[in-house]
Symmetry: C2
């Protein structure tokens, strides 16, 4: 089972002023790299905790990609004046101790703990800019979903950060629709860590609130891969919805998806644990994504149209230029399966891709070769 | 992982006439005890397979509790004339080889395989009637969800059958909304068996169709308990729906429910396997029940009314006299937890009961004591 983090030590609401210089020096400074919807919610969670916990400096610095708002004001100025990210999380107070900083190098230079939460395609560039600009003993965590899966293996964002910056990097994933957490609806998340449990517990303390329950598990790869693979399963769930096949079938597809996610992760990384899939990053994120979410939604429309309108066309119409993560991940996963001779072992993941490119009709989502369906689901 | 049943050996579509007397003697005769909605669907599944598989007699006998229809005809006569259970599964052909029999003793006397699928409260009486009336080497399977959980432990229907009749008894559970399977929408199920894998495989062969994918696991208790406990979690999911807390919260409650189901089963029966909860009887049945289902629906109404209208009142209004399994199971589970000093370990299961009797408000579904929520979810 998952390691047991201690209940966060929510002690007195001390401010930095109560402490001597020595004590202040030992406190960790937190910087959030990214300030979109999820990044802003992370800032709110973290800022509420740094005020309460003596192990952290009150101030939470947030690097904001500077934009000029229609009013002519700078986004960072407005955030610092109103404590609100008016563009990406309007109506929510982040906390007075959140400081928006448009200068990424300045934002990270004092930090002991870095929280990465940018769109994944920017991470390589950001890492390059940060080399040599951060403290030597910094700890990192990635909240970024959507790494690429290349035929030679997945290109984990946490590995990218670790390798480029020479730092330890945890991940935080889970059933985390940002706007629901922003209004303090109960939610859970999973932190994946590699070796250092003490650091993992520090991250748990930093994120945990009564409405955001965080658990740490020693399984970075499992946790991080879940966040990507679930989007492929959500396409399958969307096909079922579009074909109006009912809840039995949808539950079956979600279950088969979970089983194949687990098997795929374990074949790629023998360290991945079964128990990880019972965590929020596993079954719960899968459920959330298959109930709501844009992958499910566009896949539903795709199936309703009998596969006659392409995903590109539907995306353009339904998502205002955003692309679906699931479709590209399905293609990448298919390439891995094909490359390694694993297609027979993963009928669901393979079929989702074949449907999404029009090679199979949407109804094929429940129509594998018979022995494949039985054996596939049982062998994994 | 689950044992791997071989793909069902769907061979030639032979009839009994092709075989010598010796061969005919070795064939298994199947009788279904029960003819409600699910029993009728089971008859359809089984009858399609006995026609195809040489190991079984074509004829499937179905014990029908005799009723006189508004037309004045006997239900068994109509089933035998039309191949349709016009009362409990109208519009679906069961197969010409299904023979409805109003005499339970006659129905079972030649059977080698007995499928029990009656309302659970009738099973004790039925078992008493069957003592001494069945063949010595008969194999049984129970499709009955909803055993009782008594403080000294659950009263498993499969154990009742085994003990009363002196036969081996498997169970079949899963995400199985009968009407969806009846119209051949894809679904899965799990067979739990105790020792005899060969028998389990025979049951798999008897039920498996391309739209009904069956897996056998050596874990009767885990499979059977899942079918009961999920109704308690569905109440929790319904509260979340009624309070409009969103998909994150619903996914979190379903996940916590799955974790607590697993922990509860394992504390009661050390033989229960983690992998069982990845099967259709586990995560998939939980999903189906939390998406649709009457437990979820009435719990949603209960929460919408702020807990001010009792479950009894809502049941009477919404379910035309049917009772919710979940509410009584929640009470029974609470008694076990209380009796054994486990309340702290199962905050979700305990809270569902306390909400259902009005001791806590519906909003308490996400509002455990903080350390309990963190520790509870991690310790299990």
């Amino acid at each position: 089972m998952a390691p047991i983090p201690e209940a966060p030590g929510i002690s007195e609401t001390a401010t930095d002023n109560n402490f001597s210089n020595d004590e202040a020096r030992d406190k960790s400074r937190v910087t959030i790299v990214g300030s979109g919807n999820w990044g802003s919610v992370a800032a709110k969670l973290i800022a509420s905790n740094t005020l309460k916990l003596t192990a952290f400096h009150d101030e939470v610095r947030m690097w904001v990609y500077e934009e000029t708002l229609p009013s002519g004001e700078k986004l960072t100025d407005v955030i610092n004046k109103t404590n609100e990210n008016v563009k990406y999380l309007p109506g929510i107070k982040l906390g007075k101790n959140v400081v928006a900083d448009p200068d990424i190098e300045n934002a990270v230079k004092e930090a002991n703990m870095l929280v990465f939460v940018t769109p994944h395609q920017f991470m390589e560039g950001i890492c390059k800019r940060l080399v040599g600009k951060i403290k030597a003993d910094v700890e990192a965590i990635s909240l970024i979903k959507g790494m690429e899966v290349k035929p030679e293996g997945p290109c984990m964002i946490s590995s990218l950060i670790s390798q480029q910056l020479g730092v330890n990097c945890c991940v935080l994933m889970g059933a985390n629709i940002a706007n629901e957490i922003a209004v303090e609806k109960f939610s859970e998340a999973t932190i994946g860590y590699r070796e250092n449990r003490v650091t993992a517990e520090k991250w748990v303390q930093l994120f945990y609130t009564p409405y955001f329950s965080v658990t740490a598990v020693q399984d970075v790869e499992g946790v991080e891969l879940c966040g990507t693979l679930k989007n492929v399963v959500a396409l399958g769930a969307g096909f079922v919805d579009g074909l109006e096949m009912g809840n039995n079938t949808k539950a079956a597809i979600m279950r088969l998806g979970l089983i194949e996610m687990k098997a795929f992760c374990k074949l790629l990384f023998s360290s991945v644990k079964d128990s990880t899939f019972f965590e929020s990053c596993g079954v719960a994120d899968l459920i959330t994504t298959c109930l709501g979410g844009r992958n499910r939604k566009v896949a539903e429309a795709f199936a309703k149209n009998g596969g006659n309108r392409s995903f590109d066309e539907l995306e353009a119409e339904m998502l205002q230029g955003q692309k679906l993560q699931g479709v590209s991940t399905a293609r990448e996963v298919y390439e891995v399966l094909s490359h390694r001779g694993w297609l027979q072992l993963f009928p669901l993941l393979a079929t989702v891709h074949e449907i999404s490119i029009g090679r199979l009709p949407p109804s094929a989502i429940v129509n594998y070769n018979e022995p494949k369906a039985v054996r596939g689901s049982n062998k994994l």
